[in-house]
Symmetry: C2
Subunit: 623 residues, 2 copies
């Protein structure tokens, strides 16, 4: 990896920072955040502005360029990568270290008095603007919105914003029509006494209209906004995608609908002016509902007194609770995904001893097996295929420079998943193709105990996921081990592999309570720097539990694993398991054998079936 | 309980709400919060203004009186009590129910346009003022500070503010001199670049100067403020308490000290004007540190640009970590406390079958036995002595109207504690003096499993207490049972029985990480409405743990019980315990027998010793 040479680019950026063509007054600093206008986690190439200006292309980082300096804030996952990818025009600001200044403090320390700090108001979320603006103002500076994105003005070969065809999802996939979703949304709006709802997150637009796209890799979303009134529906979307007869039919654009279900299609870029018009039309007490993470530009379009901001939108919350059709789709997707992984592991078992399988080859092979399955669309994230010390890098992705060959002497960790038209998968298995050491088995077994503790947990209705996080750690803690990431995240239904508002993590507190139908991951791990990584991840469905006393009719919940891929018994030190844990593993493997075995049989994949049968032999504990 | 007749009082209050003698302009509503000027949890009689105006004397509640209405907000613990104590001038606002409006929403719905809402700026914390003021302003009203407390103007027989003598604590109790505490505080101030620190919480003043008082029942504190500068110490305190030679000697008021340790004693009431003078003297970048819970009046005395507000003060954090002298004192206090309880339980075992022991008699007897112990000062909170259905009322306190007789047919729950000069205790035991039912034993055993799960938990240094809360619930959850309170709170060292900034509760998130030397309670429970209550509470000390891998030198922590009172084995269904849990109980009882047995022996309390020996017989589990 050689660093990107940015001298010329920075010179150009500093010129436009002073150019009356783009800024009313010169800005002494310009902030380049990571995100796009929808605060997406994964972004399209045209939105990778921070990577363009700096060379650093990790998933998190904020660049700030002043007349004298160029600085990059990123977190511990990316210190090494950022240092490699950036030239010496850049100063790396290591977030989380004690001596690293915040962006605000740094700006205050380097800026001349009374400076202006520019930022694209579409990229910065409103809550972040507020914090930054306040800090700068109290030091005598101003945060100012710069309408035209200054990076775009110097990015001559900037790729076009993707505008790929849409996929329509019928009721057999979604369970609820877009009309009924609009009706439910309007009911929530009426409950909160708001007149308008602005949909800014891409997965929320996709979910609401039962449409999918492929504008962003791994995420089946498309660039669009929507503004829902009590009697109007406006969809802001570009290109000729609305000319597709299937889409027109799906949205009933040609039908004579009741006016409140008539969708007005408008250009993507017109969202701001339309929203400003809405803002100008409001009477006292009329409110507009936005996510508090919506961009500063859109939030500002609505005068402050009319805004109703919440951390989670009603769409985000409704989307998290999967209905019967979605749940069935997720089950089907996970069965197909398990078939692909049985094929892969069977293949690896034969090939790894030959010394010819690299991390990249294994990842490609996993994709190949998945792509053979019905309704496969794409991967749901970049495959983490890592062996030996690479496994300890939590967000590792093999590239030629780091690509390692799998061997019978090292642990192999595969965290991967796919988008199928009926569901999204995300599964991690940790395997050894030779003989694991006692210490490796010990660590694996603690991680497994944590995985089981969450998966088998019973808890009252209304419990927040973060309250379950410690269950996953208890066995590790007892021996003085831990892992530095959360235990689980929400998973979309043929949508983003990470979605709110629920999860299982010590880091969050404002998560919404778990309820039946929600789907999260359960993925504790253990990482020994320089040696190996272990993670065991299933996607699990929240289901009602049966308990002796049922919380006085408050109701009980537990989890059902949707992922049905064997957990390598060779890695388990069975004497560290309780009888209950041992039974859990055997029940799980019995189900894998039944459900996935039947599908392997049906697909005529006999060798993988034999592998599955071998790998699901029951454990027995010494008494 | 008959309600207080408040018609005349409300008439008088409404008059002063319009009287130019007290308000610049009439206020259309007046808020009467629960607290005092120090945001204390327990308050002195002179501060019980909300109880005076309404009759409702529960520990939490806010009254709002308008020209037409009088409304009281309180939580589920007090719905019944408030309804009984208030006459029909009052509307009860049941907090936590879906249809109950917030105070702000209610005010907006009943007030005429452009109203003024008054509140005593010394009683309302700054953060609460901010929230309330913002909500009212956005609806066109104003929150205004009313300098003179309007309740005080009509409370003709208001008791005097207590002004009791002080107790000085020498190094053998405190471990650190007040001078060294000032030095440490100034170091923290220098670290954060603040010039002044304002001590507003009563227990923080007491801790800082190694003084105790008795102005508030159960809490060994005294009314005072302090303002610490880098070279000055100002103590705001009333009465002739500073004339006491022991206090003068302790604070070295007569010595020729270095000027930076010279304490200036000032009248309690002069805090505001002195703080305003400090505020007026500041140069740019000079800061004053306050708790964000300090009163609005004191916070406003410092111009906004000069304020440095934190949720926990450095004193609060330092106070929570007990030094060796404090820990030893706490150990001694808990040994004495256990002696008193062994005496009590031995006595109850003999007397209860006679049918002559009521809840009040039992509570009084507990106090009698405690008061025989060395350095006993007072109780640390109102004793919860409850039998049968009363045990299910979590904050029960026996009064003649509810006083129930203990019997061999009902569970008895005793939650009690004391202030000794060397430490503060808080212990709950649940006993049966006849034969408990299988269901009672089952529930008790789940609670015990939860208690053990927390007490024996091992976790990495830096873990926040709220992450341990679910451990206490897991066994109950498995059977569909739960309890609706947190699992533990911080405990002071001869100070408040509830103190921040740590605890074990699903409700908090902003607690400070646990560290060795902190002391918290571990008190899961189970409550069957109308039948019984179960709670098992020990005070536990955070200590370093030894683990196999020690979190890569991050360090491990666990708890050591300071409370050493037998847990009634008759209530335990031993077959529901794991071998590890059984061992924990036996180890705990062995320690009780050793440590408390020796002290009972030393004090010549032979009958109680025999009781202790009987109650600490080891459990055996069927294999």
């Amino acid at each position: 990896m050689s660093p990107k040479i940015t001298t010329e680019l920075l010179k150009q950026l500093r010129q436009v920072m002073k150019s009356p063509k783009y800024v009313q007054e010169p800005v002494q600093a310009y902030i380049v955040p990571s995100g796009d206008a929808h605060q997406s986690e994964y972004i399209a190439p045209c939105d990778c502005r921070r990577a363009f200006i700096s060379g650093f292309d990790g998933s998190a980082g904020t660049a700030i360029v002043t007349e004298q300096h160029a600085a990059m804030w990123t977190d511990g996952r990316y210190f090494l990568q950022a240092a490699h990818q950036m030239d010496n025009n850049w100063t790396l600001m290591k977030m989380g270290l004690k001596d690293t200044p915040t962006q605000e403090d740094w700006l205050v320390s380097v800026l001349p008095e009374g400076s202006k700090v520019g930022v694209d108001p579409f990229i910065i979320p409103a809550d972040q603007w507020k914090r930054m603006s306040k800090a700068l103002r109290s030091a005598g500076h101003d945060l100012v919105p710069v309408k035209e994105n200054l990076i775009d003005t110097i990015w001559t070969d900037c790729p076009h914003r993707p505008c790929k065809p849409l996929i329509t999802l019928d009721l057999s996939y979604t369970g609820v029509s877009w009309r009924d979703k609009i009706v439910a949304l309007r009911a929530k709006m009426a409950e909160r006494k708001v007149l308008w709802f602005v949909v800014t997150a891409l997965d929320e637009v996709a979910w609401l209209f039962n449409l999918r796209g492929s504008d962003v890799e791994y995420n089946p979303v498309f660039f669009a906004y929507a503004v829902i009134g009590m009697n109007t529906i406006r969809l802001f979307i570009d290109g000729d995608r609305m000319m597709d007869p299937a889409v027109r039919e799906h949205l009933q654009l040609n039908s004579t609908l009741e006016p409140e279900f008539k969708i007005q299609v408008m250009p993507y870029e017109s969202i701001l002016s339309e929203l400003q018009a809405v803002g100008a039309s409001l009477s006292p007490k009329e409110k507009v509902w936005l996510s508090d993470k919506a961009s500063y530009a859109l939030t500002e379009a609505i005068p402050k007194a009319y805004r109703y901001l919440t951390p989670y939108t009603p769409i985000c919350i409704a989307k998290a609770v999967k209905n019967a059709s979605e749940t069935e789709g997720m089950r089907r997707a996970h069965i197909k995904d398990a078939v692909a992984l049985c094929e892969l592991f069977n293949w690896l078992e034969k090939e790894v001893p030959k010394g010819t399988v690299t991390e990249i080859i294994a990842a490609d092979k996993a994709e190949e097996f998945r792509s053979q399955q019905k309704d496969f669309v794409e991967l749901s994230f970049a495959t983490i295929s890592s062996t030996g010390p690479n496994g300890a890098i939590i967000h590792y992705k093999p590239v030629p420079e780091t690509n390692r060959t799998l061997s019978v002497n090292e642990i192999y960790l595969l965290d991967s998943g796919a988008q199928y038209k009926d569901g999204t998968t995300d599964v991690t298995r940790t395997m050894h193709f030779g003989t694991p050491s006692a210490y490796e088995k010990e660590c694996f077994t603690y991680v497994l105990k944590g995985h089981i503790a969450v998966s088998a947990a019973i808890f009252p209705n209304g419990t927040k996921g973060h309250l379950l996080d410690s269950f996953a750690r208890s066995a590790l803690w007892d021996c003085g081990l831990d892992y530095l990431h959360g235990t689980g995240h929400g998973v979309g239904s043929f949508l983003n592999v990470h979605e709110g508002p629920c999860g299982i993590s010590y880091k969050t507190f404002a998560d919404e309570p778990l309820e039946a139908g929600m789907i999260v991951s359960d993925e504790p791990g253990y990482y020994e720097d320089g040696s190996f990584g272990i993670r065991i991840e299933n996607v699990v469905l929240v289901i009602p539990a049966e308990t002796k006393y049922n919380f006085k009719n408050r109701g009980s919940l537990t989890f059902e694993p949707l992922t049905l891929v064997p957990i390598q018994t060779k890695m388990i030190d069975v004497n560290l398991l309780t009888q209950k844990e041992c039974n859990w593993v055997n029940d799980y493997h019995r189900k894998c054998r039944e459900v996935i075995g039947a599908e392997l049989e049906r697909q005529g994949r006999h060798e993988a079936l034999q592998w599955l049968i071998r790998e699901t032999e029951p454990l027995t504990r010494a008494q």
